[in-house]
């Protein structure tokens, strides 16, 4: 299926927590389409972060397969995974997205710089323009507000033009206004720039920005919702809890 950006096939992740065996992912088969904004939701311990990490090649599964496009991640070495992340994956974390010693521009171009490539100038300018970072480029992270820092993180993810961007609670540390602004940018990145984004969140309002929501509980996919609204998501969560 050429329009699949990332997928898992019967993915299982088991790790030992003391004497107890924890099944973080339990036979998960799920696919995320190109050019779409997907959200993964679930309560704490549902395995949503583990799923994201496995999809991004930061973690490996104990059973089943994980694909990025058509690439089977299970066959890659640490170095190959690193190079894959570098060229095909973008990240936005909840906090600590930026290197404090680099200024905004340097942070944005970090993945391309590390790869020894030159960022596409026109694309860079367009991303900066969309995110409204034009007058903040020479500032260091400590001189930026939380919202601005997250926007720089988004810009970093976008400028490298990855196949897919993984976002882990990107608005989790922001006030509601900045959070809404940031999610709006992610939405535009998908709509206007054709980006693929998979986001983990536990906030129904944030998830409502997505085209599709996948619900996880106890390491299993338990439900899905297309074109969700926050009310619909809340209803679904309530029904899942009962």
């Amino acid at each position: 299926m050429p329009d699949i950006a990332a997928s898992t096939e019967r993915a299982t992740k088991i790790y030992m927590s003391g004497p107890a065996e924890v099944r973080a992912l339990d036979d998960v088969t799920v696919a995320f389409h190109k050019g779409r904004f997907s959200a993964i939701m679930g309560p704490s311990g549902s395995g949503k972060s583990t799923l994201l990490h496995c999809l991004a090649g930061l973690d490996s599964v104990t059973g089943g397969k994980v694909y990025l496009g058509e690439q089977d991640l299970g066959t890659l070495s640490d170095r190959e995974l690193t190079l894959l992340r570098r060229s095909r994956v973008g990240f936005i974390f909840q906090a600590f997205n930026l290197i404090p010693t680099l200024n905004a521009t340097e942070n944005i171009t970090l993945p391309t710089d590390i790869a020894g490539r030159r960022p596409d100038r026109t694309w860079f300018n367009r991303v900066i323009d969309v995110l409204g970072l034009g007058d903040r480029l020479t500032h260091r992270p400590s001189e930026l507000s939380g919202g601005q820092q997250q926007r720089v993180a988004v810009a970093r993810a976008l400028v490298a033009r990855p196949d897919i961007i993984f976002a882990d609670e990107p608005s989790g540390n922001l006030d509601s206004k900045s959070g809404a602004q940031l999610l709006g940018f992610l939405r535009r990145a998908v709509d206007d720039l054709g980006q693929t984004i998979v986001m983990v969140t536990h906030d129904p309002v944030a998830a409502a920005y997505a085209d599709r929501v996948v619900f996880l509980a106890d390491g299993r996919v338990v439900d899905e919702l297309e074109s969700p609204t926050s009310d619909a998501i809340l209803d679904r969560i309530k029904s899942l809890e009962t």
Partner: protein
């Protein structure tokens, strides 16, 4: 609270282990210096007391105590009869001795580089030696040798060896092996005993004697007997209780050993000084990282004092453990020095190292004091953490002293340092403090001042030095920014390297300057074609026969033999020399200032401008010289020549020498070849003669210069080896700081990995950071070292010492390169840690 201290300690095992390593190295040197000198001292205690075991009263010529290493005057053997007539004297016998060189019959020198060979007549009365093998020498041509030396040289009873003293080398047969008390050796010196007739001849005594051993009758007190004997002795000869004589000689020896002690102690203290920065840095980082934990302690009711006690308690435990290990390290170090000594021909019995209570005390005390002083500021900072910090997310350093105050403090410390340094270098002294103490204190204060100032310019200087690294790309830029992101930490980390490099640079500059000066001097002064010199530095130098035989060669047109020894002038020990003055100025160039060197009489001396200044005398003035053998003698200044650095400051005629010194050895012979004789042909002719006198070298101008310089280089090499210790501490400091920084930057490293940084790139980043910090310290150290070098040389020049300042660029660059490489090596483990960091753990949220 103690439980918390202990837990805190266990929680930072690695960091504290590295801190402990620094303390350990420093205290090892402190302990090692004491263990070594105590051991050696104990050994000589034994030797000296057994050396006079059979003698009750010793009769010897008096000697100035500062000149105890000069041979004492000889006296008439008739004294022995007079002594025997004194009531209470059981027996008395005169003896004679001196220095000798030994060689195999094939001309292979035995023990030429180490302690001297001391020979004496084998007598009956008060002979302290015990036969270990064979029999005593009974006739001329027979000798006994100490067993330790025989073992070292692979000699046994029945073999023949050459004994070289004042005449031609003579063959002696070893008929016995001797020991002294429980020891087979003499602390590395070689002892030989020959029959009295032979002794008189080979030591040039001409019927006179050096000493009389007296044995008292039962019931007679040696001290009282000595007083009785004194009444029959001529002027200048003294009778002394043998035990007192032993103690007197031992005191002189121990003074010489004190030099080794001081030398090692200085390095121990330099190492500990360099460690203070490392210790302070470690504790500061630990305190910063534990801000929330410490604030929590405050919040639940711990007082400031308790927090401080907790940090200092950790420091105390680390200090005690590390210093205790340092005592063990010191024993190892003493063992290593002993091994080195033995390699150079010394002989120190093994297995009985002396670890005095004072040694343990000194090591523990210095370790403790240094650690507590270093931990004081971090402890104060810890106590100032506010309880509210426990609730705060961000960890901010508790104290931000204003930059202006820092600049002010640093500048004052550096200023005091420079002032003290120059005061010391200009020879300023005050009650109880030598100029050296001023120089040391000045250098220390300057180091601390610069270390305090360093954070002010860490960023610009670090960025400049790191520019080539940053130009390599993002990884390089990250490395550079990491290197300067915490200026205080970088400053503290690089300080140890700064100290090591500064001292190394100073040693290099002094060495290079001496080299250059020696070269220039020899080129300037050396007028002869060849020079004949003794090969080793034992007590015996050149037999006077060598010059006599060389003079007979047709290839030689002119030669001059120079004798050198020590005498006291105006309270200072000076090297004085004698030579045929007319020949001397023909073969060695002197800048005559006043009078004529070649025309001085036997009652006149020629002195250098240096000595003229020191003793405040001029042409025609009287000058009193104290000789070890003849006491105070008055001369007139007959000529003044330009001071030239290493040469002797006073020359006298050979006749004046013979009247005042027992020694008849030559120190060097300058030789001019006859016209038409090539250098190689001349050398061959000379070597044919010197081959008969093993241990004699024939050198041309270049070889002579190399010989002179190699001694300087050996010393510089030793200093260097010890400075490597400081570099080691700097190395540990970098390792420590990097590890701590990596723990602090876990998140950042995880992020870098997530966005596609490879392990190799991360390793490179950490390594370059270490290199920048190391080079930063090295460049600071180099700058300070060049300043020290310049200050020392110009001060010497101001003192009229002819020395040329030479800055060895290549070597200094090499020192920076060594620092950079040490940075690379120090980064190996931290880089591994960083690249192996679990990405998920690094980016996970609490």
């Amino acid at each position: 609270m103690w439980r918390a201290t202990w837990k805190g300690l266990l929680g930072h095992k690695l960091r504290l282990a590295l801190t402990a390593l620094a303390i350990f190295l420093g205290t090892s040197f402190v302990a090692g210096s004491y263990v070594f000198t105590d051991t050696l001292g104990g050994l000589f205690d034994n030797l000296f007391s057994s050396a006079f075991a059979g003698t009750d009263v010793l009769v010897q010529a008096t000697v100035d105590e500062d000149l105890s290493f000069v041979q004492r005057a000889r006296f008439d053997p008739e004294v022995v009869d007079a002594i025997q007539a004194v009531e209470g004297v059981e027996a008395a016998e005169g003896t004679v001795g001196g220095f000798a060189n030994l060689a195999t019959p094939d001309g292979e020198v035995l023990g030429g580089q180490g302690p001297p060979t001391i020979g004496s007549a084998w007598i009956e009365v008060g002979n302290p030696f015990e036969l270990r093998d064979g029999r005593p020498p009974a006739a001329d041509g027979e000798m006994v040798l100490d067993k330790a030396s025989a073992d070292r040289f692979g000699l046994t009873v029945g073999q023949e060896i050459l004994v070289i003293t004042l005449g031609r080398p003579e063959r002696f047969e070893i008929v016995g092996l001797i020991g002294l008390g429980s020891s087979d050796g003499f602390g590395g010196a070689t002892a030989i005993g020959v029959d009295p007739v032979a002794a008189d001849r080979i030591f040039g005594a001409d019927g006179q004697i050096d000493a009389v051993n007296v044995v008292a009758r039962d019931g007679f007190d040696p001290a009282l007997l000595a007083e009785q004997i004194q009444t029959v002795l001529p002027d200048g000869v003294r009778a002394l209780d043998a035990r007192l004589a032993a103690e007197e000689q031992l005191a002189g020896f121990k003074q010489a050993l004190g030099f080794i002690n001081t030398f090692l102690l200085v390095f121990g203290l330099v190492a500990l000084f360099a460690s203070t920065f490392l210790i302070q840095n470690t504790f500061q980082i630990i305190v910063t990282q534990r801000t929330r934990e410490l604030a929590m302690f405050r919040a639940i009711g711990a007082t400031r004092r308790q927090i401080m006690a907790m940090v200092l308690g950790e420091a105390t435990i680390v200090a005690i453990l590390a210093s205790a290990a340092g005592v063990g390290g010191g024993i190892g170090l003493a063992e290593a020095i002993r091994w080195a000594f033995e390699r150079f021909g010394g002989d120190i019995p093994s297995g009985d190292l002396v670890v005095a209570r004072r040694t343990v005390g000194a090591a523990l005390l210095t370790g403790l004091v240094v650690t507590l002083v270093s931990a004081l500021i971090p402890a104060l900072n810890a106590s100032r953490i506010l309880p509210v910090a426990a609730m705060r997310e961000a960890v901010s350093p508790p104290r931000r002293r204003s930059l202006r105050r820092r600049g002010f403090t640093g500048a004052i410390l550096a200023g005091i340092g420079v002032a003290l340094l120059f005061a010391g270098l200009r020879g300023f002294r005050t009650a109880g403090l030598s100029p050296v103490a001023f120089v040391g204190a000045g250098a220390g204060s300057l180091f601390v001042g610069i270390a305090v100032l360093t954070p002010l310019f860490t960023r610009p200087l670090g960025r400049t030095l790191g520019a080539p690294v940053a130009a390599m790309g993002t990884i390089g830029r990250l490395a550079r920014e990491n290197a300067v992101r915490s200026p205080r930490r970088t400053a503290a980390t690089s300080s140890s390297i700064m100290i090591g490099t500064a001292l190394a640079a100073l040693a290099l500059i002094l060495g290079s300057s001496l080299d250059t000066t020696t070269d220039a001097l020899i080129r300037d002064r050396f007028r002869s074609d060849l020079i004949v010199q003794p090969g080793g530095f034992g007590g015996a130098e050149l037999s006077p026969r060598v010059a006599v035989e060389l003079a007979e060669l047709p290839e030689v047109s002119a030669l001059v033999a120079i004798r050198r020894n020590a005498a006291e002038i105006d309270g200072d020990t000076e090297f004085v020399a004698s030579a045929d003055m007319a020949r001397l100025i023909e073969l060695v160039r002197f800048e005559n200032r006043q009078g004529r060197m070649d025309q001085i009489t036997d009652s006149q001396v020629a002195i250098s401008t240096d000595l003229a200044g020191d003793a405040d005398v001029g042409l025609g003035d009287p000058i009193v010289i104290t000789f070890g053998s003849s006491g105070d003698q008055s001369f007139t200044v007959g000529a003044v020549f330009e001071a030239d650095g290493p040469g002797s400051d006073l020359y006298m005629t050979p006749a004046a020498w013979e009247a005042n010194f027992v020694e008849r050895f030559d120190s060097s012979i300058f030789v001019n070849l006859a016209e038409g004789v090539g250098l190689e042909a001349g050398r061959e002719a000379l070597t044919a003669v010197t081959a008969k006198y093993p241990g004699t070298n024939v050198l041309d101008q270049n070889q002579f210069a190399e010989e002179a310089k190699s001694q300087i280089r050996q010393f510089i090499g030793l200093v260097f080896a010890l400075l490597a210790l400081t570099l080691l501490i700097g190395f540990v400091g970098i390792l420590n700081t990097l590890l701590l920084s990596i723990i602090e930057r876990t998140r950042e490293i995880g992020l870098l990995r997530a966005v596609g940084t490879t392990r190799r790139q991360l390793s490179r980043m950490v390594t370059w950071e270490a290199v920048i910090v190391a080079v930063f310290g090295a460049v600071l150290g180099l700058t300070l070292g060049v300043f020290f070098g310049w200050a020392v040389i110009t001060s010497l020049q101001a003192d009229d010492v002819e020395i040329l300042l030479s800055i060895p660029g290549t070597w200094l660059a090499a020192a920076v390169a060594v620092a950079a490489v040490s940075g690379v090596v120090a980064a190996v483990y931290p880089a591994r840690r960083a690249s192996r960091l679990n990405v998920l753990a690094a980016i996970a949220y609490e």
